[in-house]
Amino acid sequence: MKPQIAIVDYGMGNLRSAYRGLERGGAKPVITDKKEDLEASDAIVLPGVGAFEDAMANLYPLREVIIKEAEKKPMLGICLGLQLLFTCSEEGEGRGLDLIKGRVVRLPRNVKIPHMGWNSLEIKRDSRLLAGIKSGDYFYFVHSYYAQPEEEVTVATTSYGVEIPAIVEKGNVFATQFHPEKSGKLGLKLLKNFVGIASE
């Protein structure tokens, strides 16, 4: 049985590539903004393009169900979807999902913003998400803010003026600051690894 993965649709982000990428990884993705779909799925993907405050406002009706389901099933945050997992962000008002303690802050002034392009990972600890992926592999990043976790959740980092958590993991909750659905073959591999976790 293919695991059903709910891709949370809470605005206008480009969900097509995430959908196709998960499909290739062996999942049955569903793009949805319905509570019931999140409850019925084997895993949840929280994508994200845009601004923190708008995203949290749009996500508000699903906030409780996401927090509840994240305890029971695998969840993958992508890009802004990673940042939304944290407590709060410098980018805007409003509380994040607070599934991981920490703040999201703006990249330092001495680098070009947004951080846009392919950057290499440095793996800090093992993760099921990283099967077939090694330190030095490149992934596609586009972001202006980054997370500063207050918990030991960082699986891999990348370097851009500062050390940025590129992958975080806490219990069932996984997230990437880069876009696996835009990171070519290795990105597809990571999505496939997540589908594998969702199948367990």
Binding site: N14, S17, G21, V49, M116, G117, W118, S120, Y140, S144
Partner: protein, 266 residues
């Protein structure tokens, strides 16, 4: 480390790639999807589709092309050409593109950049600037030293057919302030010559702005890409014919760059 990006550009008209593409091993060299996949295999870091359709029907077809490409190619895709309102941006992003490049419409209505950036985020708004040298000293222009003499750079619109009198470097700063997340900078002097990118132009814009700059126009040899990065301070380099005619693969260029100490994704 963040790598320098190599970006093949495809001109698409009514859903087909134009500007003869010559590859023996492609079933259909006129198919944007097929070519996108081919360049992805070669290690292209991103792709740009430039819609040169003149008709409404052609533009509708482009949406289908973007969808089909996004379904099969998992690297960033920028679509430019004929974008004149926020609704065009929305349609293209929704079809699966990651960024839209806005050129003429931004000059005519700078607020479009601001509106689109506010709505969709700066990261998906690329300001495309076509610039041409004007060899004259003017106090109200950014005058730059070049091996050919001192000049300023004039912004052209309508696919390079109409000069605007605007200073390209000042315009680059303006689009950044409006919210563009990246600048696609094409030298009209260099475009089509295969004599190399306009390095003084690229460098001036890269130094005067703080968003990523894509150098475009004039690529003919591997050395030209090195110059764009090492001397022009570009973040990415875009080319068309040098790839389409099979003179170099993306991989050839990256191998050369890496050997000369430029960080690339191999």
């Amino acid at each position: 480390m963040l790598t320098k990006r190599i970006i093949p550009c495809l001109d698409v008209k009514d859903g087909r790639v134009v500007k003869g593409v010559h590859f023996k091993n492609l079933r259909d060299a006129g198919s944007p999807v097929e070519l996108a996949r081919f360049y992805d295999e070669q290690g292209a870091d991103e792709l740009v589709f430039l819609d040169i359709s003149a008709s409404h029907e052609g533009r509708k077809t482009m949406i289908e092309v973007v969808k089909a490409t996004a379904d099969q190619v998992f690297i960033p895709l920028t679509v430019g050409g004929g974008i004149s309102e926020v609704e065009d941006v929305r349609r293209i992003l929704k079809a699966g593109a990651d960024k839209t490049a806005i050129n003429t419409a931004a000059v005519k209505n700078p607020e479009l950049i601001a509106k689109a950036a506010r709505r969709f985020g700066s990261q998906c708004i690329v300001a495309a600037i076509d610039a041409k040298r004007v060899y004259e000293e003017r106090e109200d222009r950014y005058v730059v030293d070049t091996p050919e003499g001192r000049c300023w750079f004039e912004v052209y619109i309508y696919g390079g057919r109409k000069g605007t009198g605007k200073d390209a470097i000042a315009w680059a700063k303006e689009v950044e302030a409006l919210g563009a997340g990246e600048i696609l900078l094409t030298s009209m002097d260099a475009d089509g010559t295969k004599m190399g990118f306009d390095i003084p132009l690229t460098r001036a814009v890269a130094e005067e702005t703080s968003v990523p700059v894509i150098a475009s126009g004039g690529a003919g040899k591997v050395e030209h890409f090195y110059d764009a990065f090492a001397h022009g301070k570009a973040d990415a380099a875009l080319a068309a014919s040098v790839f389409h005619y099979g003179e170099y693969t993306v991989q050839d260029i990256k191998a050369y760059l890496k050997a000369r100490g430029i960080e690339v994704r191999l």
